[in-house]
């Protein structure tokens, strides 16, 4: 992979290991565990209080980058300037909202020598919240009915069509289960203020939440699939604890999605399993989930496998993993000298 034995330089975003965490810190932990050659991790942070910037043993160096709203050209110039100093080999973006820009600039980054392993726009759009119902219909997969809306007045009719409760979701993040029209309206305003339009209103499915982390090889094959059941869910709907499952129907579902999209890269499927064992796809997230370190713990280190795929190596698909492996997230007050905070805030790197 890297013949001169110098460290493989990997840039990673999503260092916000907070109560609704980005996957970056978990991705880096998995890489540090699973890479057989020396690596140097370059953190890419949007805000100066992302914990991953300051945590020991996570990033070797971190740079501040521009928000996705600044556009692909600005992002390209920022990454190019970091690359001139750091000689990045691979980049792993971890936020939904930044992926459009990263996919846009991926060929130009490749020309600079920066590899990535991302879906193309066709794959990316197929599983978009706005297209998910049609995707399910096309591939014979169960997806709850939904409708994008742009005005609060549209909620009333949808309440009658879907019945209550229903789910009010943001374009990228957040979902609220609303039991009345008033709750739905409140959620509409709250989420649209934060994430913009449209708001997606989705039929509520009752069941057990199960998630799958998977890695597609870009040719229709799944390199790794790990199903996990959330055991403890925060008020933001995030898994605070989870356990790996043995369930062939979940593995088959993930394989179907990979085959249908020819997905390249990591992704997460959020599923609601009903009492009748129906598997409803609630969302397909186009990146690794925040609980991705569990895949390393269960014996299928997906971030490390992704690096190999990005570098053009053949990776033999994993065939087994540890069932009944738990992750339990925890909070930790990390003490940081103000000089580090000042350094990052003033100079945009640490």
């Amino acid at each position: 992979m890297n013949e001169n034995k110098s460290p493989l330089v990997i840039a990673v975003t999503g260092l916000n290991a907070i109560d609704s965490p980005g996957p970056g810190v978990a991705v880096i932990r998995a890489l540090r565990d699973g890479m057989t050659q020396p690596i140097r991790i370059i953190g890419l942070a949007y805000e100066n209080l992302e914990p991953g910037i300051y945590m020991d043993g996570i990033c070797d160096k971190t740079y501040q980058i521009s928000y996705p709203a600044a556009g692909a050209e600005v992002l390209y110039n920022v990454i190019k300037s970091i690359h001139e100093k750091e000689k990045i080999d691979v980049i792993i973006p971890n936020f939904d909202a930044e992926l459009y820009n990263f996919i846009t600039i991926a060929p130009r980054l490749k020309a600079l020598g920066i590899h990535s392993f991302l879906p193309d726009f066709e794959m990316f759009d197929a599983r978009d919240k706005l297209n998910l119902y049609a995707f399910g219909k096309k591939h014979n997969l169960l997806v709850p009915k939904d409708k994008p809306i742009y005005t609060v007045s549209e909620l009333e009719a949808l309440g009658e069509e879907f019945g209550y409760p229903l789910v009010v979701k943001g374009k990228y993040y957040e979902a609220v289960v609303a039991y009345t029209l008033e709750q739905a309206q409140k959620a509409f305003y709250k989420i649209s203020t934060k994430w913009g339009m449209p708001i997606i209103v989705q039929q509520f499915i009752n069941g057990t939440e199960v998630n799958i982390a998977a890695l597609g090889d870009g040719e229709g094959g799944a390199t790794s699939i790990i199903p996990m059941r959330k055991m403890y869910i925060t008020d933001k709907g995030k898994a605070w604890a989870g356990i790996t499952l043995e369930d062939d129907t979940l593995i088959d579902l993930a394989k179907k999605i990979v085959a249908a999209t020819k997905w390249r890269g990591g992704f997460e499927v959020e599923i609601m399993k009903t009492a009748k064992d129906e598997l409803y796809i609630m969302e397909i997230n186009p990146r690794f989930p925040a609980w991705i370190y569990l895949t390393a713990g269960a014996g299928q280190n997906q971030p490390a496998a992704l690096i190999k795929l990005a570098m053009g190596e053949k990776v033999i698909p994993f065939t087994s993993y540890d069932v009944g492996k738990l992750f339990i997230r925890y909070s930790w007050d990390h003490i940081v000298d103000v000089s580090k905070f000042q350094q990052f805030t003033a100079f945009g790197s640490l």
Binding site: T208, R229, M231, I243, L245, D247, G324
Partner: protein, 79 residues
Amino acid sequence: MIKKNIATNEFGFVFNPATGDSYSSNPMAAEIIQLMKENLSLNEIKKMLLDKYEVDKMILEKDLDEFVGLLKENNLLSN
């Protein structure tokens, strides 16, 4: 009978790997589950328990039926 992939240990911990659910069972329940895992039929289990413990047959049958119902309710039995 009991699903093949159900995991148990000597402390009565029962784990269903398909759902992620786990349970604590008392020593009697753990013994019955263990016998089920050894592919013994309910009648065989009943006979073994009657031989081993001083228990009224009617009470044992009632308790065993209830316990089997509980296992079924928790999706631990194969169809």
